[in-house]
């Protein structure tokens, strides 16, 4: 197992290096110049030339890239062109907030989605099943920004139960977590239902029932455990996605996370900030995938990574 982890972590290095190259080249070919963003609406050629020189933007591309990689190797993500703050600090400040939001959304999705899926599978065609189907349709069809605004209108503007947006405690977390988690709730509910239907029809479930096991033990310990693999897959993928890209949710709910940071950086062509966050988020994604794979082994003893 530990050999597997080490191998995966080593493999992550070329992956991240590839990400670095692609991100660097994409920014180079994309139109838009960081210096243009720095100088604002009114400028002059000399200032622009001077800033370009100051930021070493006129160096040959391989030199710029080498310079950047050398910094990374020393653990230095550089400073933002625009704000002059260290990128590392910006990320450290914002990522925990994104983690909090993504975590809450996943928790919500796991609790609601899996419960709904299990209950649906126990009585296919029953009212819970049909309700679950409705929830799944809505959750998958409604875009997150629309759901987000509706939630704000209902719970903040009309009912005054929760604050409309901003960062703070659980009261601020509830709406964005729900908006973000909607899609996962829907997917998990459907995924859990079909996986459960498969395993509930399997021989070992019949055996368990024949042994006289209580229904909850049959469903919970035998059927659900065997249905876990696809559930973990969905959880892992969604969690990775939420950690790296809950941009819309963060924007609508004024959540000061990493998604908005990246969007701002892109709008201002803040190259070090974009590259630094892309690299960091890729590392996060690789890590989540690794954890997902390890969770497979936990869930299913037949999966081994010897």
């Amino acid at each position: 197992m530990s050999a597997f982890i080490v191998r995966r972590l080593l493999l992550a290095i070329p992956t991240l290096f590839g990400v670095l190259v692609v991100a660097f080249l994409l920014l180079y070919v994309a139109p838009g110049d960081p210096v243009m963003a720095m100088v604002g609406e009114r400028a002059d050629e000399e200032t622009i030339a001077r800033l370009r020189a100051e930021l070493r933007l006129d160096d040959p591309l391989p030199v710029q890239f080498g310079h950047y990689v050398a910094g990374i190797a020393k653990g230095d993500l550089g400073r933002s062109y625009i704000t002059n703050r260290p990128i590392r600090r910006d990320i450290i400040e914002r990522f925990p907030k994104t983690l909090q939001l993504a975590g809450a959304a996943m928790l919500l999705a796991t609790i609601c989605g899996v419960t709904l899926g299990v209950l649906s599978a126990r009585r296919p065609g029953g009212w819970i099943d049909r309700f679950g189907l409705g929830v799944a349709y809505l959750g998958i069809s409604f875009p997150v920004y629309w759901v987000g605004l509706l939630l704000i209108l209902l719970f903040a503007v009309t009912l005054h139960w929760l604050p409309p947006s901003g960062f703070g405690g659980a009261r601020y977390l509830a709406l964005p977590a729900l908006a973000l988690g909607m899609r996962s709730i829907a997917f998990l509910a459907r995924m859990t239902r079909s996986a459960m239907l498969d395993s509930l029809g399997a021989d070992y479930v019949r055996t368990a029932r024949a042994k006289g096991l209580h229904d909850s033990a049959v469903v919970g310990r035998h059927a659900l455990r065997n249905a876990l693999i696809p559930i973990i897959t969905v959880l892992g993928l969604d969690f990775g996605a939420y950690l790296t890209g809950s941009i819309l949710t963060e924007t609508i709910f004024s959540w000061p996370g990493i998604g908005r940071y990246v969007v701002n950086a892109i709008a201002r062509r803040d190259l070090p900030a974009i590259q630094g966050s892309v690299l960091f988020l890729s590392a996060v994604f690789v890590l989540v995938n690794l954890l997902t794979d390890l969770a497979y082994a936990k869930a299913d003893p037949r999966v081994t990574y010897a």
């Binding site: 139109p31 400028a43 002059d44 000399e46 800033l51 100051e54 909090q100 928790l107 963060e250």
Partner: protein, 524 residues
């Protein structure tokens, strides 16, 4: 591995939050910033959120009132030499920074030097370029700024390259604010100024919290604190306002009609005269657009009043020149180009394009401008002008226009200071082609000499007359499709007293604004 499956446990900081935004109603809450300020260092002030916050924390030698008059700030008065090139500023005495350091003339010199210092990477030196030697210093060709001196602690003498009568107006811009003589590396996060407010905390992408500077020379702010929230999504800002959690809202265009038609909500609205010009820059060097008749045809081909009424809820005053009617120099009697497709077609024929022309109209992805672009496209089609709309993300679109790669480009221009010069010179003077702001690449020697002469002219009446003459030329030459001056609409909570929407973005320091906390029930 025998135990049951470990659930996906996440350490969530779900500390139950009781307070937070909006419950402490002695705090004034602003919702206008939609992205995080770049820094709180005046030398880095190139965008609106930064400029606004810098305006709370710092003072310039002059400052704007909410209705865009220029009044004394850290300078109580100034004299101009007979040749108009030397400005002597007499500084306010007894002013201290919030860390207790007394304000003296040296700090003025040091602050402006920092703005121009290449190493600071501010990128916005132009308000100080009129100072003799400033550009040379910024370009690294001089080690000090020749035109700046401080004969004593309360006097600053500024020698300009050439007379520039409106120079004191430029000093009210955030970038010209006065900071301490030497600043630490993290000054952008830990600013120390002489302004009406001091920074309590800055939660990036979340909010900035300010407390009154009790010893402010201009009278300490009356409220307990001021919170500038950063709300990226306009619809969210509206919801915050409706929940009573923010006090002041800049109403998005999409909301205006609903609010104006609602008898309750319309009572909360307040409007400002506009110093924002929305126009379509016509690149006067590209193909058929070099012909003035073609450019006039473009102006005749569209019905602006319909567009203003239907796309921006009537909030635009039709432009017939680049000077807003609220500024001296605007020729108010001039009638703009009227919608007349026959005239447009005739002008095109005269210019040798009986079969029409093909153009590209560039726009950012701003939804309002995209809609304007599509509407213009339909109108222009009626006169035989076939337009392809090119949408690009705003930085990319702006860069293309600056490099002269766009035929037509929809853009706006906000005044930095209230003077016709701030429209005529950057937008249309040939010295500013491209990155300077003249993306029409317009060049007319007669216009240039009038604007240059106006900049040097000390007599206000003569100066204004030259502005008017220059604007008349620009109108005739049509280096742009003159669209409208947009007038901002604000919504202000009924419990807020004393908030006057500012004409210039940094013209409202909130010092006299109060909140009557008992007047409402905040959302809990």
């Amino acid at each position: 591995m025998r135990r049951s499956i470990a659930p996906l446990v996440l350490a969530l900081g779900l500390a139950c939050g009781g307070g937070g935004g909006g419950t402490d109603r002695r705090t004034l809450v602003d919702s206008r910033d939609n992205y995080d300020p770049r820094s709180l260092d005046p030398a880095l002030s190139t965008d609106v959120p930064t400029g606004r916050a810098v305006g709370y924390l710092f003072d310039g030698l002059t400052r704007f009132t909410p209705d865009a008059r220029v009044e004394p700030g850290l300078a109580t008065s100034w004299d101009v030499s007979p040749d108009g090139a030397t400005n002597t500023f007499h500084l306010r005495r007894g002013v201290t920074f919030t860390d207790g350091t007394p304000f003296v003339a040296r700090q003025v010199l040091a602050s402006w030097q920092r703005v121009l210092d290449p190493k600071v990477r501010g990128g916005r030196g132009w308000p100080l370029y009129p100072v003799r030697g400033a550009k040379e210093f910024a370009d690294g060709k001089a080690t000090s700024i020749a035109g700046l001196s401080a004969p004593n602690d309360s006097t600053v003498v500024v020698t300009l390259k050439e007379p520039f009568a409106i120079f004191p107006k430029l000093l009210a811009m955030p970038v010209a604010s006065i900071a301490p003589e030497s600043v630490p590396a993290n000054f952008g996060e830990r600013p120390v100024g002489t302004g009406p407010w001091r920074l309590i905390e800055w939660k990036h992408d979340d909010y900035l919290l300010f407390a009154p500077n009790r010893s402010y020379w201009g009278g300490a702010p009356k409220a307990d604190s001021l919170k500038a929230r950063i709300i990226a999504e306009p619809s969210t800002a509206v919801a915050e306002f409706q929940s009573g959690t923010v006090d002041v809202l800049q109403l998005p265009q999409s909301e205006i009609r609903d609010w104006e038609e609602d008898s309750e909500r319309r009572k909360l609205l307040a409007s400002t005269p506009s110093l924002e010009l929305v126009y379509v820059a016509i690149n006067t060097t590209r193909g058929p657009l070099a012909d003035v008749r073609v450019r006039q045809a473009l102006n005749y081909a569209i019905d602006r009043s319909i567009i203003v009424r239907n796309l921006i809820a009537g909030r635009g005053e039709l432009a017939s020149g680049v000077i807003p009617s609220s500024l001296p120099g605007a020729e108010k009697t001039r009638v703009g180009y009227q919608f007349d497709t026959l005239r447009a077609r005739q002008l095109l024929r005269e210019a040798g394009h009986p079969n029409g022309i093909d153009l590209e109209l560039w726009t950012s992805t701003n939804p309002i401008y995209v809609r304007v672009a599509e509407t213009l496209q339909a109108y222009l089609q009626l006169s035989g002008i076939r337009v392809k709309v090119v949408q690009r993300e705003s930085a990319a679109a702006r860069e293309a226009a600056r490099k002269g790669k766009t035929d037509l480009f929809i853009k706006d221009w906000y005044a930095d200071y209230p003077d016709a010069e701030n429209f005529l010179y950057p937008l249309l003077h040939s010295a500013n082609k491209g990155v300077g702001g003249n993306v029409s690449y317009y060049s007319n020697p007669q216009f240039d000499s009038l604007v240059s002469a106006a900049r040097r002219e000390p007599d206000e009446a003569k100066r204004v007359a030259m502005y008017t003459a220059a604007d008349r030329i620009a109108f005739r030459d049509a280096p742009m499709i003159f669209l409208w001056f947009y007038s901002e609409l604000y919504a202000i909570q009924p419990w807020i007293r004393g908030f006057v929407p500012p004409v210039i973005f940094n013209g409202q320091p909130w010092t006299t604004v109060t909140t009557t906390a008992a007047a409402h029930q905040p959302a809990r």
